[in-house]
């Protein structure tokens, strides 16, 4: 606003006129600011996920071909999803571990669906720096706790996907999913 008042002062007029011009300039500047702000939004929003990306936010998985002890990796929202059919020993290990010994204490029951505890479904991204841990293929190293092992910085996860050995700070995340039947699950 300094400019208009300075310009005004070089053209001395009645005092009232100066304030009127200031007011007018103020309103105009405010309107321009609102306009520019409003224009910025479509540009920013165009970078958010588009409708086709959002529409693919869920994926159906058929669990029937996965044998006990095996796991598969599928793609959901561009991320690897680990689906593992756990053995009774693995389930027992996951359930029996004292919570106090965990880095991020969380019971196995919170990470699986009731009645389907042989299935563990995880977002396969190490919570340290985003690598994909090994352990879903039979030939992969699974770490000391029988779950997953991250080759980047050595983090280890147990059969419930909970972090047992750093540097990862948190458990592998569980995606939102629901069982449509005993052998069909919908992720997302």
């Amino acid at each position: 606003m300094a400019d208009s008042s300075a310009a005004a002062s070089t053209h001395p007029g009645p005092a009232g006129e100066v304030t009127k011009r200031d007011m007018l300039t103020l309103v105009t500047t405010a309107a321009v600011a609102i306009g520019v702000g409003a224009v910025a939004w479509p540009f920013i929003d165009s970078m958010n996920p588009s409708k086709d990306v959002l529409a693919l936010a869920s994926v159906d998985v058929d669990l029937s071909p996965i044998e006990v002890g095996q796991g598969i990796t599928i793609l959901w929202q561009g991320k690897p999803i680990f689906v593992r059919h756990r053995t009774p020993t693995e389930i027992k290990e996951a359930v029996d571990v004292p919570l106090a010994s965990l880095i991020e204490p969380q019971p196995d029951s919170e990470r699986t669906k009731a009645g389907h505890d042989q299935w563990i479904i995880l977002i396969g991204i190490c919570t340290h720096l985003g690598c994909v841990p090994l352990g879903n293929k039979p030939s992969d190293p699974r770490g000391d706790w029988g779950g997953w092992f991250c080759p980047c910085h050595g983090s280890q996860y147990d059969t419930s996907g909970r972090v047992r050995h750093g540097p990862a700070p948190a458990n592998l995340a569980v995606p939102p999913y629901a069982f449509a039947s005993d052998t069909k699950v919908k992720i997302g």
Partner: protein, 424 residues
């Protein structure tokens, strides 16, 4: 000049920066105090409008590029993806599409302003020539941009325009193959056009910068076409012309918005909603409206090479305009005969435009020949001769002379100008 700049800004942060990099002083000098003739009419808005338009084009273009696929299999569909699925994609695309038309409207008026008020004459010849360079880059950019949606008009427009170069003897066909990167307009062509379409606007920014530097060296021309003689003839750019340009920018935005929101495809061609098909040429091939006059010139003669030369010549002749016009008087206000010939030239361009939109048959051939003839006669015959024959009206003594008298207030000396940068 070695050493720190002595900044006069009160704000310590601005002062600190300005001492080391005197951009604020420069902006204040060139856009704050810059002494500008006080008698501009609204025709002098169009330079600023073109600048705003370029900013709009670059901004929307960058965001469109984030979703566009420069691949002949995917390009058409990716435009539909932008129009249907990307948030506000339709808005960005329609602004970009209609912004191109607005850019040419604004630029053509800007050029007309220069022709009418003699802005191309000494000492502003180089300023004018840089302007012609800008026009040529703009045209190349617009042409390549129109190819990107990969519709029928994109494809066949690209085919026809690149084939123009085949008119040149010996090297012609080699040039065309080089442009295509193949034996027809195809994926390689689309890829390189995309790359260049993204590059050229930034080249445009560079040449526009030179255009403005040259302008600020000579100072602006004005409706009277006479030189500034005293500080009384000028006003500081800010707030006088910032305020006046703002009005023009708002009107410009209203026109653009009406196009974008209510008639986004009015200036387009239905054929471009059909994906490119190398096996079938549309019944009528027409370029975008802003190329129609050149297209008519191209088709006005039955000989291929002559047509191509005339078409390129119609732009290139503008380069030597400062030397074709032999009159010492700049503004057409004081050149009654030149004014008539120039307005007839505008009529000729419009007639050529209409001819370009119609099939080259019957009356349209005749009209486009007449238009072409007059287009070149204006520059090559009328302007050189008229400058010697015409008796101009008496010029006013100074810019402030015809208006001084009434209140005698007079403009302020530029030293007393506002301090616009405190706003920053």
């Amino acid at each position: 000049m070695v050493g720190l700049h002595k900044s006069e800004f009160a704000n310590p942060v601005i002062n600190w920066i300005d001492t080391r990099l005197p951009v604020f002083t420069m902006i204040q000098k060139e856009y704050g105090e810059f002494p500008t003739p006080k008698n501009f009419n609204y025709f002098w808005n169009f330079g600023a409008l073109a600048m705003i338009n370029l900013v709009i084009m670059i901004a929307t273009g960058i965001f469109l590029a984030m979703n566009y696929q420069p691949n002949s299999e995917l390009a058409f569909g990716s435009i539909q993806h932008i129009m249907r699925d990307v948030n506000y994609g339709w808005l960005l695309r329609y602004i970009h599409q209609n912004g191109a038309s607005m850019f040419f409207i604004v630029t053509y008026i800007h050029i007309f302003r220069g022709l009418y008020y003699g802005s191309y004459k000494a000492p502003r010849e180089l300023l004018w020539m840089l302007g012609v360079v800008i026009l040529i880059i703009m045209m190349a950019t617009a042409f390549m941009g129109y190819v990107l949606p990969w519709g029928q008009m994109s494809y066949w427009g690209a085919t026809v325009i690149t084939n123009l170069f085949s008119a040149f003897p010996v090297v012609g066909p080699k040039i065309v193959t080089l442009l295509w990167g193949g034996f027809s307009v195809d994926n390689p062509t689309l890829n390189r056009f995309y790359s260049l379409h993204y590059l050229l606007p930034f080249l445009l920014v560079g040449v526009i910068f030179l255009h403005v530097v040259a302008l600020h060296l000579t100072g602006s021309n004005n409706p009277l076409g006479i030189d500034v003689k005293s500080p009384q003839d000028t006003l500081p750019f800010h707030p006088y012309y910032t305020a006046k340009d703002s009005v023009g920018i708002c009107v410009f935005l209203v026109v653009l918005s009406v196009l974008v929101f209510f008639a986004p495809n009015y200036l387009g061609d239905p054929n471009n909603f059909i994906p490119a098909n190398p096996l079938q040429t549309p019944a009528d091939i027409v370029p975008e409206w802003y190329f129609l006059p050149y297209y008519a010139i191209l088709r006005s003669v039955p000989d291929k090479l002559t047509g191509v030369c005339l078409m390129f010549g119609s732009i290139l002749v503008l380069f030597v305009l400062p030397w074709l016009d032999t009159s010492k008087v700049r503004s057409a206000r004081f050149r009654p005969l030149y004014r008539i010939t120039l307005l007839l030239w505008v009529v000729a361009v419009v007639v050529l435009g209409v001819c370009g939109a119609n099939k080259p048959q019957g009356i349209w051939v005749l009209l486009s020949r007449a238009g072409t003839l007059y287009y070149f006669a204006q520059f090559l015959v009328i302007m050189p001769i008229l400058g010697k024959l015409e008796r101009p009206l008496p010029l006013p003594e100074s810019i402030s002379h015809p208006v001084i008298g009434g209140r005698g207030g007079g403009p302020l000396p530029s030293g007393a100008a506002a301090k616009p940068m405190e706003k920053a």
